[in-house]
């Protein structure tokens, strides 16, 4: 009988939505919520012995949370840790990936499930990630994929693309049957014969970005200006970092038609901020945006601007900021964005 611990967020254990997002790590016996269906699919040879949960904000935002979650997981002595499915939920996906990575690093088998576009997909370390659809209404197929993957892992088999494997697959050391030089000669002959694909090292993978449809009626739309140029009020009240930013901030533009030098400053460590500080509009073009508003080219300029420092930002954080900015702007009704980059 294989022992499984299931990790879920506050929503899927039924503790609430955003209001419960700060709830701390907790554990309860047996399967909960979607875990029940997962247990059914897994059958008699597998038992979900415990469900560990945490609020998304706590898991993705408080540095000690993951270790606490893994400690709770370990108490249940699992053979495998299953995290998610997180669908496209960014914070939940990050939490699932990090829990799986930490469990794996602690010597436990682990697997996470989420949509391939989830920013958590590259943070699962040595733990495999299998695909789910975009939203919870696709829980059924997601659990089908996940339960099949769980069975395979417990049977000691490696997952492949056919099992829904997504995300970074670790590069594992192997001894080939021939030397690198001999393999290079084979690869050269393959290339000469027309094979454009063959390689032992895949090129760096960048996300496919599906462009959004265009704004239809700009004259009535709210447009937001956002920036990675680290422009903040002169005293940097939010303590935005100059490099390796771990956060983003928002500042109000309400009632302002311009940004006066001396009241704003760029704290970006990646370029000389002399010009930006002499005229903050060079980072945040408020004057031109207000002109466009007056001329009727846009309906409204969004009342706030969102800002971070794009200097050595980890890909994981940058992805997370993007997810959060998108959520924030949608929530506030902005229909398009202008992002100034340095």
């Amino acid at each position: 009988m294989a022992r499984i611990v299931h990790y879920l967020n506050q929503f899927f254990i039924g503790a609430g939505g955003e209001d419960a997002a700060a709830s701390p790590p907790a554990s309860q016996p047996g399967p909960v919520g979607p875990g029940r269906r997962l247990a059914q699919l897994l059958g008699d040879e597998h038992e979900i012995v415990a469900t560990v949960s945490c609020g998304d904000d706590d898991a993705a935002g408080r540095p000690e949370a993951i270790a606490e979650i893994v400690a709770l997981v370990q108490e249940a002595q699992p053979d495998l840790v299953v995290a998610g499915p997180a669908f496209t939920s960014g914070r939940y996906g990050l939490a699932c990936a990090r829990v799986a990575a930490a469990a794996k690093a602690a010597g436990l088998d682990a697997v996470a499930a989420m949509h391939p576009d989830n920013p958590g997909i590259d943070e699962a370390g040595a733990a495999p990630v299998v695909a789910s659809g975009e939203a919870a209404r696709l829980m059924g197929p997601a659990l089908d994929t996940l339960s099949a993957a769980v069975k395979k892992i417990l049977a000691g088999e490696a997952l492949t693309d056919a099992d829904g494997l997504v995300g970074l697959a670790p590069r594992l050391p192997r001894m080939a049957d021939r030397s690198a030089a001999e393999r290079a000669v084979d690869l050269a002959l393959a290339r000469l014969a027309g094979d454009r694909e063959a390689t032992e090292v895949p090129l760096p993978r960048f996300d496919k970005v599906t462009p959004a449809p265009p704004v239809e009626d700009l004259a009535r739309a709210t447009v937001a200006i956002v920036t990675e140029g680290a422009l903040v009020p002169d005293d940097n009240p939010g303590a935005l970092e100059s490099a390796r930013a771990t956060k983003w901030l928002r500042y109000s533009l309400a009632g302002r038609d311009e940004l006066k030098p001396g009241e704003w400053r760029s704290v970006h460590g990646g370029f000389s901020t002399v010009w930006a500080n002499a005229d903050p509009h060079r980072i945040l073009p408020l004057d031109a945006a207000r002109q466009l508003e007056r001329d009727g080219a846009i309906g409204h300029l969004h009342e706030e601007y969102l800002v971070t420092a794009g200097n050595g930002t980890s890909v994981a954080n940058a992805r997370r900021f993007g997810v959060e900015w998108a959520a924030d702007l949608r929530h506030s009704g902005a229909r398009a964005a202008i992002l100034t980059a340095t």
Binding site: P173, S179, A184, A188, R191
Partner: protein, 410 residues
């Protein structure tokens, strides 16, 4: 033509002799060959495959080769041997290994047994290890030079012992050239030329600042390329590896069958981006002018050196010449980091020679040569220890010697 003598056993004795696969070395003679005013003391000992021995602080490794007495025909620019024709005699599976402290040398390890043994070419060779003590106040550059001259002279002397013995096999070396109807595949060998303790020599002179140039691969076989490069242990090419140039040999082996071995180009690895771009463009043009249809590119060093391969690969692809690059990966201990530091943009054919960061659990050894302590970890050199593959000499062999690689399951 190589006259290959297989070494079956080794030992010390009164005189340096070769008989029926047994190589005996006179310690006195060996020490005398390596001695120099800047060296207070030189000691030689054997470490053979399977021995419970760890060699630390490895500097260069040389394969015993000569065409005649006195180092005739080998290591031009270092040994004053007379030029010679005829076969090059090789003592295969023997090596002269210099081991000891030099400043700026990154500590390199060879284990003669245990899991790391098969990762280095020299875990499988009978190694005559030269240990040394510099003279008081000796200049390190002089020490390095003396060790180089001494080890090359000793390597030639060992091979000399087998000159009159019938070889175990003879290997003919196909000369590069076109063969009707077969694709012409050449090699570009990048040499790291960054000055003292990080330099590579061609015919006795640093290749720093040189233009990319074609070289007769037979010259490389006879020691025209000598390494004074003590940087990244896993990513450097000791002299032995150049003598056994894996890519040239792999191409030669199929010359006339499914390809024509088209030649070897040597290129330096400059340290500025603009110089890298310039040298890479020149090297690509040289390959095009020489009629190569495809090129296999190798490097020496870490991420910086990736750029030299990547730039040439893109330049060649832009000219319609297929380019294959050998790269080591730096994917982190769990293999999930971005593997290649500087990848090509348009060329895509890459061979992986393994992951720099993979952890190895190495056993305790009975004996250590080259030093008493592994400075990297501050432990006795004989201790059991965990090391990244990065520290094992030539383990990620960028010249393509090794079978180590990376793969993704599924």
């Amino acid at each position: 033509m190589r006259a290959v003598h297989r070494v079956q056993s080794v030992g010390m004795g009164e005189a340096t002799t070769w008989r029926d696969g047994a190589l005996t070395v006179s310690a006195e003679e060996a020490q005398a060959l390596v001695s120099a005013p800047c060296l207070a003391d030189v000691r030689v000992s054997w470490a053979s495959p399977g021995d419970s021995v760890r060699i630390v602080k490895v500097l260069d490794v040389v394969e015993p080769r000569t065409k005649g007495p006195g180092g005739a025909g080998v290591f031009p620019g270092w040994i004053d041997g007379a030029p010679a024709d005829g076969p090059t005699h090789v003592l295969r599976t023997a090596a002269v290994v210099v081991a000891g402290y030099l400043p700026r040398a990154q500590e390199a390890v060879i284990d003669m047994s245990g899991p790391a043994a098969e990762l280095s070419p020299f875990g499988g060779t009978h190694n005559l290890v030269i240990e040394f003590t510099p003279g008081p106040g000796a200049d390190w550059a002089d020490v390095d030079d003396a060790l180089r001259r001494g080890s090359l002279a000793l390597a030639a002397r060992l091979a000399e012992a087998a000159l009159d013995a019938p070889p175990d096999s003879e290997e003919s070396l196909a000369d590069p050239g076109p063969v009707d109807g077969l694709p012409r595949i050449g090699a570009v060998t990048n040499l790291q030329t960054q000055g003292l303790f990080k330099d590579v020599f061609v015919r006795g002179e640093s290749f720093n600042g040189r233009a990319p140039a074609l070289i007769d691969p037979a010259e490389i076989d006879d020691g025209a390329v000598v390494s004074g490069q003590y940087g990244h242990p896993s990513l450097r090419n000791p002299t032995w590896v150049h003598q056994n140039h894996p890519v040239a040999n792999a191409l030669r082996a199929r010359h006339g069958r499914d390809l024509a071995f088209a030649g070897v180009v040597l290129a330096p690895e400059p340290v500025s981006a603009s110089e890298k771009a310039r040298i890479s463009a020149e090297a690509a043009r040289l390959c095009a002018d020489a009629g190569f249809d495809a090129v296999i590119l190798t490097k020496e060093g870490g991420g910086n050196a990736d750029a030299d391969v990547a730039l040439k690969m893109d330049a060649l692809e832009d000219m319609g010449i297929a380019a294959i690059g050998l790269f080591a990966e730096m994917a982190g201990p769990d293999g999930t980091g971005p593997p290649i530091v500087v990848a090509p943009e348009r060329a895509t054919a890459m061979i992986s020679t393994g992951n720099y960061d993979t952890r190895l659990d190495l056993p305790e050894m009975e004996r250590a040569l080259g030093g008493e302590e592994l400075a990297l970890l501050g432990v006795p050199a004989t201790s059991a220890m965990q090391l990244p593959t990065a520290v094992i000499l030539a383990s990620l062999s960028p010249l393509g010697w090794g079978r180590l690689t990376c793969a993704q399951d599924g």
